[in-house]
Amino acid sequence: MKPDKMEESIITSERYIKKIDSVSSDILRNVRINRGFILWMGFLSVALAATLFAYTIQLKEGLIVTGLRDVTSWGIYIANFVFFVATSLVGMLISSVLGLSGAKWIKPIARIAEIIAVAFAAVAGLVIISDMGRPDRLPNVFLFGRVQSPILWDVTVVTTYFFVSLLLWFLPMIPDLAISRSRISDRPKFLIKAYEILSFNWIDHKKQYEILNQAVRVLLILIIPLAFAIHTVTSWLFAVTPRGGWDSSIFGPYFISGAFVSGTSAVIIAMYFFRVNYKLQKYLTEDHFEKIARVLVLVSIIYIYFNINEFLVPGYKLKSIDAVHLKELFSGHYAPLFWSVQLLGLVIPVILLLFRRMRKPFPLLIISGFVLMASWLKRFIIVVPPQAHPFLPVQNVPAEWLVYKPTLIESAVTTASLILVIMIITILSKLFPVLPIQEIAEEETRAEAEQLNSN
């Protein structure tokens, strides 16, 4: 997309025009409202309605229908929120960090990463509302917002991050929309109309590329501090309290590094899904999986490093409040969960991924599944166990308050949020080109031209 002289000649070349035709036909094949899409969305809608019914019960009865009580007052809603924010961070990792450093192979994946970022960031805001005792008073946050509260910072940065991610998904897609608009004449009218409006008079002009590139570069830089901000602020929701297990000064980087792990694994799963279901083996090649597997190894190792910091240092000193908490994790009530998350979701995947065979698409999918699941459970471990052991003993309360067990309603509401994420991903990937047509065509043309020149 960089309009230097060679670029220009590529864009105007015959070969490029042909390339656009072939690539767009491959990718636009999936852009259609077919029976599969309708059935799938119908199924999701029914499931969503069922789970939202659970939420209406919670609205009516209060949070008593959850497993939350005065001892553990934040549960899977908050854990899920942290997970969503974490996963959405991958948009920044792939597009900005890798993209700006010049890694060309991320081009076909960047949009998938942005779709995931947009979907998870959008639903994260809703998840936090489901945890509120008085969701009807949400406007109070804007009416009486206190600049000192990390919640206010969180609301601010999550919204901003969502919009910037949305722009980062949308802006690079404008050329594709212009390309597609003449090629989807057999699709529903509203879709054609939408493409026409959203392509913003794109006529493939050099000047337009110039402006677009400027805008995208600003976004790519802007999103780096924003992404760091959203997850650091989310970690501060815990780190600003004096509780054992939360009172940690490395919570910011600990969360960020963990976010890259969960986000990367989510992207891998999405990649595999699109590769197989959308028949995009030609564009999402084994090489792409190989490369992103290496990214996963790298971010996992960083995360392991922060895990060691987070648990070894307090475990070494065993200050009274940390001692109780760590004992629960290492050998107590939460030990089975803790160790399976750390081993099955982090250490063993890294070891397996050292072998080339494991970096093939299907084994990588399975490993990523484990990593993603463990990422969710890790958020549970971060959020829930430290609350069970406050500084002062918990006494004279019903025995069932002492150990938090999520209820069916809670799980249903959490499932609702996951369904919403899947719905958003489905819509974004089914109604719009899931891979960047223009960029792929350009890249392939250039590669071929280079090959010709060298010959």
């Binding site: 910037v164 722009l167 913003f200 006529i203």
Partner: protein, 308 residues
């Protein structure tokens, strides 16, 4: 021999134990009597007061449902408590001991007598003796007045008690007086009780860390210790005897925990600048999007002719 020794030791221990539990009332307090006769009205009032102040430990009289404390509070209906004289019970309620709190600032003398009146209703053999009306007042028929003066040079309060009868005023001598400071929820005793000298004067030393209001005023109250003898004459006077206290406003400073108007300046700046920068860039990008649109519009108006 061994057995006898054991018995002696046990007995001794027992006696020792009893002794340690014994509650000795000074002789002059033992003979104190109520100034009014007990009747149904006093018993009713006493029952109410008992249920509020005493029942939580002593239980309901006659039921033996007192708390299991060491030493045991005991059931007031039993012989153990009933064998006390009225004066002894009055003394014990007033002063308290160990777990039993003092009620001298909670209950007035008549109220304590009402409680005793209620307690005695559980004693069939009890015969009340009423104290004879005081005729031996030191200054019969006189108006007794108290006057306070603050001497700032050595921070003392000088009290003068005088009795006025007709036109003649004489100093009240040999009367025990106390000085109290008004605080939000009660009266704070300062210095010890003093006895008036031959001029009817007594001098109290004030602690030097006594906070007053913003101009140093404190409300001071003087009373006779033996109110039966001198009447419940009190004197409330505002004296400029305290430290000038400017109340500390706990929410004056900027702080993380204060309301949004008193947030730390650096925090407000960081937040707003961060937000404005991000919004500024987003605005810039949206403007660029607009530019793309305009470029397309400008050029496409001539392009169709080209294509044709």
């Amino acid at each position: 021999m061994k057995n006898i020794l054991l018995v002696i030791i046990t007995l001794q221990l027992f006696i020792f134990d009893l002794k340690s539990q014994e509650w000795i009332v000074p002789d002059d307090k033992k003979s104190k009597l109520s100034t009014f006769p007990f009747d149904d009205i006093t018993r009713k009032a006493g029952e109410k007061l008992f249920s509020v102040n005493c029942m939580s430990c002593h239980g309901t009289p006659g039921k033996g449902n007192f708390l299991n404390l060491v030493p045991p509070p005991g059931d007031p209906a039993t012989e153990k408590i009933q064998r006390n004289s009225d004066g002894e019970i009055f003394y014990k309620i007033t002063t308290g001991r160990g777990q039993m709190p003092s009620f001298k600032s909670v209950l007035s003398s008549p109220e304590i007598w009402n409680i005793i009146s209620y307690l005695r209703s559980f004693n069939k053999t009890y015969q009340q003796q009423v104290m004879a009306v005081i005729t031996s007042s030191a200054y019969p028929g006189a108006d007794i007045g108290l006057f306070l003066l603050f001497n700032s040079s050595d921070s003392t309060v000088i009290l003068r008690a005088s009795a006025t009868k007709g036109n003649s005023t004489v100093p009240v001598t040999g009367a025990e007086v106390k000085l109290l400071i008004h605080r939000t929820f009660g009266l704070l005793t300062v210095d010890e009780a003093k006895t008036t000298d031959k001029n009817g004067m007594a001098t109290f030393r004030l602690p030097d860390n006594l906070p007053g209001d913003t101009s140093g005023n404190i409300m001071v109250s003087a009373r006779f210790v033996n109110e039966e003898l001198f009447g419940s004459s009190t004197k409330d006077t505002s004296l400029c005897a305290g430290i000038k206290t400017i109340p500390v406003n706990l929410v004056a400073d900027r702080a993380m925990w204060n309301n949004v108007r008193k947030a730390p300046v650096w925090l407000i700046l960081t937040y707003s600048l961060g937000l404005l920068t991000a919004l500024g860039f987003i605005f810039y990008v949206l403007m660029k999007l607009r530019d793309i649109f305009i470029v397309g519009e400008t050029l496409s108006s001539e392009k169709p002719s080209k294509e044709k």
